[in-house]
């Protein structure tokens, strides 16, 4: 199995970028699925295949359940937010996302069945900060949460909902950004899809 680190660029086919944007917009609009955590934040996993020095995203796997208010995960996230997050008027319990372990296991199993590499997770930033108008980079908390994860953190800027953007950072480290290319002309065949 190939590694995901050490690649030159990440390729995101336009149809999958559209899926990510639609996921973010749906959550922001408060249009939740019946079995989905009713929070206006989008979180998901990107998986795909390696071709030489390129990683090609083949699947967008939105995750539905936020387990951040379930112990012992709640205590962990509360502590991380208290220590490292930028102060906010948003209540602590409404900040942060932790994947539901059972849902994540299903996601990992699916990727194994389809022979896909898991590249990392995506989430969106929606509020502009002074000195960071697009919010398209990881926060200090994002970096700490992704430390030693061996995964990319994909940050989607939804500050301007009509003009989203996405960037990729290995282990959420702002110093380890990998160029991400959105294209409507994929150079590699998509793998077989097992629903």
């Amino acid at each position: 199995m190939a590694h995901i680190h050490g690649c030159a660029r990440i390729i995101l086919p336009e149809p999958l970028w559209k899926e990510i944007k639609e996921h973010c917009r749906r959550k922001l609009a408060g249009d939740f699925l019946p079995d989905e955590s009713p929070v206006p934040r989008a979180y998901g996993i990107l998986a795909g295949s390696r071709h030489g020095d390129e990683l090609v995203i083949d699947r967008v796997l939105p995750v539905k359940k936020n387990a951040r208010n379930r112990e012992p995960l709640k205590s962990y996230m509360d502590q991380m937010l208290t220590r490292h997050a930028v102060p906010s008027t948003t209540p602590t319990a409404n900040r942060g996302w932790i994947t539901d372990p059972a849902e994540l296991m299903e996601c990992y199993n699916r990727c194994d069945r389809e022979d896909l590499l898991i590249f990392g997770t995506y989430h969106m930033h929606v509020v502009a900060w002074k000195g960071d108008p697009r919010r398209d980079t990881p926060t200090r908390l994002d970096t700490l949460l992704a430390e030693k994860s061996n995964l990319f953190t994909f940050i989607i800027s939804m500050v301007d909902i009509s003009s989203p953007s996405i960037r990729a950072f290995f282990e959420g480290d702002p110093a380890r950004e990998t160029p991400l290319v959105i294209t409507d002309r994929p150079r590699y065949p998509a793998p077989h899809h097992h629903p």
Binding site: M1, H3, Y43, I45, A67, R68, P72, L73, S75, Y76, M77, M80, L81, A85, R95, G96, W97, I98, T99, D100, P101, A102, L104, M105, Y108, C111, D112, L117, I118, T121, H123, T139, L141, D142, L145, A146, K148, S149, N150, L151, T153
Partner: protein, 87 residues
Amino acid sequence: MAKIIIPFPLRSHTDNQRAVTVDGDTLAAAMDSLFNRHPGLQSINRQPGLLSIFINGRAVERHPEQWQKIAVTADDEITLIIPIAGG
């Protein structure tokens, strides 16, 4: 003996093996066997309570002090899951 499924992000510690066969007839012994063979995996316990363990798809007690009480057999498939988090 049992089989432990290694989540994708941790496979760099197992030479990219998806599954590792371990010794022991309790979960505690199986985890010790895993850590002895792949010491790099001990990092999964660096944050107490974050590691979730499933045996044949069912969640089991996550606290290591309880693992001694959980029997495993050669037919069991143990899956380790460390949740992914974002701010």
